[in-house]
Amino acid sequence: MKLLSCPLNGLRNISEFTYGGEYHPTPDHQTTSSRDWAEHVFFHDNTAGIVIEWWCHTPSSFWFLAERNTLTDEVVRTFTPDELYTKSIIQHETKPETTP
């Protein structure tokens, strides 16, 4: 079976993981138009080549990112989200609203 390396749990069978979609920075909730939301939610790059995507190790519910080649099915590397998210999303959400 194909193996995937989880940053928390190490090398495991691919059947322990769930694919979680392409990595895209989340648009700003307050300012994004519904057209852009539609694009964020439904549309995909669907790149043939190296992509960054979300994966979840199901037994531990641990979400992480992988760089994978969608032509060869080779995983370049896996890494934890804090590499891309330096700020907590929760703090971002609870900051006081400036405009009504």
Partner: protein
């Protein structure tokens, strides 16, 4: 018939029941009450208590689902538990036995599971439950209660042949030289998700398994089926308690 007095305790007397109590009734288990918990004392039809200890030393399966446990998740969790004078494991996927006998398991950098001991010596879980209730408002500290009390069943596979059993059901290498005392694996066991913790009962190898409560009967049946070639069998908590207390 020294067990006569325990025989009258039905698993349905307590509000908290094991998801496996129907299986235990099928095996005509004897139950006993310890505090608020009703557990399987032994399975008399399988032999006397001494036989059960021998089974547990070779390959036994025990249901610990009604035993106390709790857990916490969130950025503030490890520091908060350390401030409660707990020994928090440094690495994720390792377990640390406390001086009070309870077991702290670090599931990730921000998530800790706490299991009570088999002899009911420690009050840690009860104490932490009380703390969690008091600290109900402490979301700004980013500590969230995730007890795995009602969401998970808790089983133990014991005995020197246990690793042979896991090699049939699990892709992670759980042999003793790879998966030492205190090691933790969050993985797939019999095609169902499980947390597996190595926590020996003195010299007897023991693996705790926490798995989704809705699949408890499936997992129990799978384990027993896989055990049959090693003459493994269900054992009551008393056998495990004996192994845990004898040096």
């Amino acid at each position: 018939m020294t067990k006569q007095e325990t025989n009258i305790i039905a698993p349905t007397l307590a509000t908290r029941r094991s998801p496996l109590y129907r299986r235990h009734l099928q095996y005509q288990a004897h139950f006993k009450q310890v505090g608020d918990n009703i557990v399987v004392d032994s399975y008399p039809n399988e032999g006397a208590i001494n036989d059960e200890i021998e089974i547990a030393k070779s390959m036994g399966l025990c249901d610990l689902s009604t035993l106390d446990r709790t857990g916490f998740k969130g950025v503030g969790t490890p520091q908060w538990l350390a401030s409660q004078s707990f020994k928090v494991p440094v690495l994720a996927n390792t377990a640390e036995e406390q001086s009070s006998q309870s077991l702290l398991i670090k599931l990730s950098a921000q998530e800790i599971l706490v299991l009570s001991d088999l002899l009911f010596l420690s009050e840690d879980v009860k104490r932490l439950y009380q703390k969690a209730v008091e600290n109900h408002q402490s979301y700004d500290q980013q500590i969230y209660n995730l007890p795995r009390n009602d969401s998970h069943c808790w089983l133990a596979v014991t005995g020197i042949n246990a690793t042979e059993l896991f090699s049939k059901l699990c892709a992670v290498d759980l042999r003793s030289h790879k998966f030492v005392q205190g090691a933790v694996a969050q993985t797939s066991l019999a095609k169902t998700n499980a947390i597996i913790i190595r926590h020996d009962l003195n010299k007897t190898p023991c693996f705790y398994i926490l798995s989704d409560i809705s699949g408890a009967e499936f997992l129990w049946d799978c384990l027993l089926d896989a055990m049959s070639e090693f003459h493994g069998a269900p054992v009551g908590l008393s056998a495990l308690q004996t192994l845990a207390s004898n040096q």
